[in-house]
């Protein structure tokens, strides 16, 4: 409080000296206003617009206010299936990405010849445009001339049944595998940064106590790494729940409905069937899910900011 007042006095002094009275006081608002305006117009207004169309059927003059779009959600078994796909996709991909990423991070934590080269090369998949990742894996997984089946044939494996993106179960496994390929580097990078930020002292203490490598990892590294792990998991979960790009290129949700996620189903509803109201209603379910995760993330940030 006292500091506030003295700060205030200081700035009043300075203002008198500069003779620019209200300018200094309104300056922060002037600086922030354009950004707020853009975000209101392009993030918040669209959201309100979405609420409106989700509560209407018909359009223009014939529009009627109704809850029909939300009632439909409960009985739409395709939507339910897309939700289930999204959850399985997110859970499986997150688990693998985390474990593999952690493993790679531990491997590169200690100084090692060629470390920065390894690090850079491992990051490549993550940096690629998702559409390019889709193209890369369409080429790899093509049953006729793809490198995967070609290589398997070369070593004498019968690849007739391995049609990858053309049979439901395999297609689902394939899109998850591609996600793991692209995003394990993200986990690796975040966790490596987390590991490097851990100070040396706890390790030295552990060595003096004679704890084994695994014990040190379990009781020293993991607890200290927890904030980094949480942040990486939260960020990744948010992205996994909204997955669209690679699946759109690889399978377009097919064959049948087998790789359709929520984002793809909303896209199809809005832009293939022009059912914008229903698409908007579904998008609020997705927004709610991501919000639960992002609230966790923002809480963590706030704790860090105040700490």
């Amino acid at each position: 409080m006292a500091r506030h007042i003295s700060n205030g006095l200081k700035s009043v002094d300075r203002l008198k000296k500069n003779g620019s009275g209200g300018r200094e006081l309104s300056l922060p608002y002037l600086l922030i206003a354009p950004t707020i305006a853009v975000l209101l117009a392009l993030s918040i207004y669209p959201l309100i617009y979405s609420v409106k169309i989700s509560l209407q059927t018909g359009s223009g003059q014939a529009a009627r206010w109704t809850l029909a779009n939300f009632a439909r959600l409960a009985n739409d078994k395709f939507f339910l299936e897309a939700l289930v796909h999204t959850f399985i996709y997110a859970a499986v991909a997150l688990t693998f990405e985390f474990l593999l990423g952690l493993g790679l991070a531990v491997l590169l934590d200690k100084p090692l010849r060629g470390r920065s080269l390894f690090r850079s090369a491992l990051l490549i998949p993550m940096m690629l445009p998702p559409v390019v990742v889709g193209v890369v894996w369409r080429l790899m997984l093509n049953p006729d001339f793809g490198a995967v089946n070609g290589t398997l044939k070369g070593v004498g494996v019968n690849t007739e049944a391995l049609t990858w993106t053309a049979t439901p179960t395999l297609a689902f496994a394939s899109v998850i595998a591609v996600d793991i390929w692209q995003w394990t580097p993200f986990m690796f990078l975040e966790l490596l940064a987390g590991l490097q930020a851990i100070p040396q002292e706890p390790y030295e203490a552990a060595v003096i106590d004679g704890s084994s490598g695994w014990q040190t990892f379990r009781h020293v590294t993991l607890p200290l790494l927890k904030p980094a792990i949480l942040i990486a998991l939260l960020l990744r979960t948010m992205d996994l729940l909204r997955v669209f790009d690679q699946i759109f290129i690889l399978t377009q949700g097919g064959p049948g409905f087998s790789t359709e996620t929520v984002s793809l189903y909303i896209y199809r509803t809005a832009f293939r069937f022009s059912d914008f109201g229903y698409a908007a209603a579904m998008s609020f379910v997705l927004l709610l899910l991501t919000n639960l995760v992002s609230v966790g993330y923002i809480r963590m940030l706030q704790r860090q900011e105040t700490a």
Partner: protein
């Protein structure tokens, strides 16, 4: 097991194993290298495969077993994609949209970030606004895609570069604010205060004293914006459908989902879409962690 006996036991194993420990560390190190090399190969080989397809004639493309190294490289697919077909146009659109939206987002966002980093507003408004700005970044793109499509249709801005520039500016703004706010906060307040005592205005101090000090961070932030705009797919897919307005990712996707796919053309376009991103990514390696967690984690 009680603590002391546990400790004694480990000490004992230490002494008996001392002789073999050198060999063990060597094996550990070797297996480390083997694992890392395998991982790198897994990461890189699929990309390399696409690159080879872009240079291969059709005969080499469809050969079984796959030809990893032995093929006669040609640039025909690149000419086909960028001269005969419209990929040159898509490339230009991508460059313009990414460039303009980055400039807008960095300019607006940096000013806001400075305001939020340096001024304590009443009722913790500065912190609340920061969090609100961050939260707008968390919307899944499909949630905004539906209303943005309808809004742009009403404004007759579908299939224009303007719509993409506007939308990408808004997409990158929260990111710029958070990154730059972090960089500003790392500088001591005394810097501007000294300049202001010397008679500079607040904005003068910002331009002459502070901005030069955050230039590396500012550049990294701009590069991240370029990457995001360049890679963005869903919103571009929804907002642009004509050859004159679509970006490179949308152009590529349009060809991939057709029945008869020109694999060489696709790959050539993919390689061109990928190269600037890889160059950019190498340039901002130092800031990657920070950028990927929206400025929250100092890598």
């Amino acid at each position: 097991m009680s603590e002391p006996s546990h400790k004694a036991a480990t000490m004992q194993t230490h002494t008996t194993q001392r002789g073999t420990s050198a060999a063990r560390t060597r094996i550990a190190k070797l297996s480390k290298y083997v694992l890392l090399t395998l991982s790198v190969l897994l990461a890189v080989i699929p990309v390399y495969w696409m690159v080879t397809i872009s240079f291969k004639s059709e005969v080499d493309q469809f050969a079984v077993p796959p030809r990893w190294f032995k093929f006669s490289p040609a640039l025909t697919h690149y000419a086909d994609a960028f001269v005969t077909r419209s990929f040159g146009q898509y490339l230009l659109t991508s460059v313009i949209v990414a460039g303009l939206s980055t400039i807008c987002a960095v300019m607006l966002g940096t000013l806001a970030a400075y305001g939020l980093a340096r001024f304590k507003l009443r009722g913790k408004l500065d912190q609340r606004l920061s969090m609100w700005i961050l939260s707008t970044r968390m919307f899944p793109p499909i949630v905004s895609a539906v209303p943005l499509f309808l809004m742009m249709r009403d404004l007759r801005l579908l299939n224009t570069l303007t719509s993409l520039v506007i939308v990408y500016t808004a997409l990158n703004l929260p990111f710029v604010v958070w990154m730059m706010r972090g960089f500003f906060r790392e500088l001591p307040r005394e810097l501007e205060e000294a300049a202001m005592v010397d008679g500079d205005s607040r904005l003068g101090a910002l331009v002459r004293v502070i901005l030069p000090l955050v230039t590396p961070g500012l550049a990294a932030t701009a590069v991240f914006c370029l990457i995001v705009s360049w890679n963005e797919f869903l919103l571009a897919l929804v907002l642009t459908q004509t050859d004159a307005a679509m970006t490179l990712p949308v152009g590529i996707a349009g060809r991939v989902t057709q029945y008869e796919i020109k694999w060489g053309v696709m790959s050539a376009a993919g390689v061109v879409a990928m190269i600037p991103i890889l160059v950019f990514a190498m340039a901002v390696q130092r800031y990657l962690v920070r950028g990927l967690s929206l400025g929250a984690v100092k890598g």
